[in-house]
Subunit: 127 residues, 2 copies
Amino acid sequence: MERQTRQREAICAAIESCDRPLSPAELCEAARRRLPSLGVATVYRAIRELVASGWLRIVEIPGAAARYERAGKPHHHHFLCRICNALWEVSGCLRGVDALAPAGFVTEGHDITLYGLCHDCRGAGPK
Amino acid sequence: MERQTRQREAICAAIESCDRPLSPAELCEAARRRLPSLGVATVYRAIRELVASGWLRIVEIPGAAARYERAGKPHHHHFLCRICNALWEVSGCLRGVDALAPAGFVTEGHDITLYGLCHDCRGAGPK
DNA sequence: ATAGGTGCAAACAGTTTGCATGTAT
DNA sequence: ATACATGCAAACTGTTTGCACCTAT
C-alpha cells in the first residue's frame, strides 16, 4: 500500500461510506460505482493489503461469504438477519466464553454470531 | 437414499467412527480407506441426502469449510484448531447469549466458535 | 428388468497469480 | 526513470452436474 491510486481511493471510500461490513463482491460493486474499470483482482489485492496493514478487519460468518469492516472497533460480535441478510453489530460479549474449551486446549479467540430477525424485518414477511 | 450401497455404507461408517465433525474432504479420505474407488461427487451427493433426511447436521464455521456431524446431539459448540484445522466438539453453552442482540431484534439461534490450539497441537510447532 | 446410484470429467464460482502495460512518485 | 500497481486472462480450489455405465432391488 505504498502508492495512492484512483482504485485504492475508490475502494477505501466505498468501505468508509458504508455502515455495514461488505463482502468482496459487494465491495467491488460499490467501488465500481466510483471507478467502473476497476478489476476484481485489484479489489482482492487491496483487501489483502488493507487487512495486513491493520486498516481493515475480516468478519467471518458461518455459512456466508466473509465480509470486511474498518478495523479498530472494540470487541464485538454480529447478528445476521435471516430475512434481509444484513449483518448488524452486536456490542458486548459474555464472560467465560473462552473457558468453554475442553481441558488441555489453548483458546486464542472466539466468534459469536446470532441469527434471527432484525428490527426492520421483525413482523414483516420475507422481503 | 433409497438403496443400500457399498459407498453409502463406507460414508456413514466413516462418520460414525469419528468423534468430531468432518469436512467433505476429510470424509472422502476417511471413506476411501474403506472403499478406495469412491468418487468425490458421490460423497457430496451423499452428504446432501443425509442432511436432507435429518441424519447429518451441517456445522458451519467462520472462515473454514463446513463440517458435518451426526444430527441429534444436544446443543453444543465447536473449537477449531489453528494448527491442524481439526474441529472439536465443545459441550455446553453460556446463559445470556441470545440476549446480546440489540433491542427489538428476535434471536432464533446462535453459533459460538472457539479458536486456538487443540490438545494434540498445544506445545507442538506447526505440523 | 429397471430405476436409482456411481465414477469420471467437464462445468462452475470464488479467489489468486503471471505478465505486459500503465502510472505515481 | 523506475518501481509499484493495474487489468486481463489463465490457474487453482472446492463443489456441482451431465452422462454412460453399473447394481441393488
